[in-house]
């Protein structure tokens, strides 16, 4: 089993993506999808870094729901700032010291920060473990860093147990 499917999550993602792309639940399409899901990870396994195992899928789902909600809420907030007077904006570079020590989890965190409007991650320093980001309007950078740590980093740490 381990040899047949070295990356079960990747295989599942390929299968689902193929099913979505072919847009038809015919037996043939699903069979091709299953074949690709087995073949592609096996052929490309040497290129894949060691991703940490998903320890708590429930927490991951809750985090995904929170991010989706935050995207909508933050979008409205940023829209107001874009249309309002620009002189009142306080853009800032913020450095967030990280507690997690895993490159993959740090990448996910950086992506979440970029996807939620109002913040864009710029660099993850993997020697000092600091995430630097740019905020569109941050009157209080310290509070923003604390919010990101509490809202996204803590659940991520729990999900990957790192």
């Amino acid at each position: 089993m381990k040899r047949l499917l070295p990356h079960p999550a990747l295989s599942a993602a390929i299968f689902l993506l193929w099913a979505a792309l072919s847009n038809a639940a015919s037996v043939g399409a699903l069979a091709v999808g299953a074949l690709l899901a087995v073949l592609l990870p096996a052929v490309t396994r040497r290129f894949w870094p060691d991703t940490p195992r998903l320890q708590r899928p429930g927490v991951a789902l809750r985090l995904a729901a929170r991010v989706a909600l935050d995207i909508v809420v933050a979008n409205a907030a940023v829209a107001r700032r874009v249309l309002g007077p620009l002189s009142r904006l306080q853009p800032a570079f913020v450095e967030v010291p990280l507690d997690l020590r895993d490159p993959f989890a740090a990448t996910i965190l950086a992506s979440i920060v970029s996807l939620t409007p109002g913040t864009v991650s710029i660099d993850v320093d993997q020697t000092r473990w600091v995430l630097s980001l740019h905020a569109l309007d941050a009157p209080d950078p310290q509070a923003l860093a604390a919010a990101i740590k509490a809202r996204y980093e803590a659940p991520l740490k729990e999900v990957f147990a790192c």
């Binding site: 099913a19 979505a20 038809a24 874009v82 996807l115 864009v120 660099d123």
Partner: protein, 102 residues
């Protein structure tokens, strides 16, 4: 088509288009590169997201069977948008530093 579904599809299209426009207004209006970077990430996440959901809902109700391939575009954009924002930010920082050195 079911009028309730039609209302939802129309609303999603309007919301999506409005946010795409807002992102572009941000891109045109904001004062420097790093603040401008916030515009497109917004247009992608909610603008195209709402539009694609509208299309998926529309084809799922008008044609037989579910229409999920639009979701593939959405997934791809959600993965690629942070990466391109990150690479652009790095390039901008690099150029700024080179300009300061000169």
């Amino acid at each position: 088509m079911n009028p309730a579904v039609e209302t939802i599809v129309s609303l999603l299209i309007l919301v999506g288009a409005a946010f795409a426009l807002l992102g572009s207004i941000g891109l045109a209006r904001l004062p420097d590169f790093f603040t401008r970077l916030h515009g497109p990430t917004k247009a992608t996440t909610l603008g195209v997201g709402a539009m694609v959901l509208a299309s998926s809902l529309h084809f799922s109700t008008t044609a037989p069977g579910l229409s999920l391939h639009e979701i593939a575009v959405l997934v791809f954009l959600f993965i690629s948008a942070p990466v391109s924002a990150h690479v652009l930010a790095k390039a901008a920082l690099h150029r700024q530093r080179r300009k300061d050195d000169r």
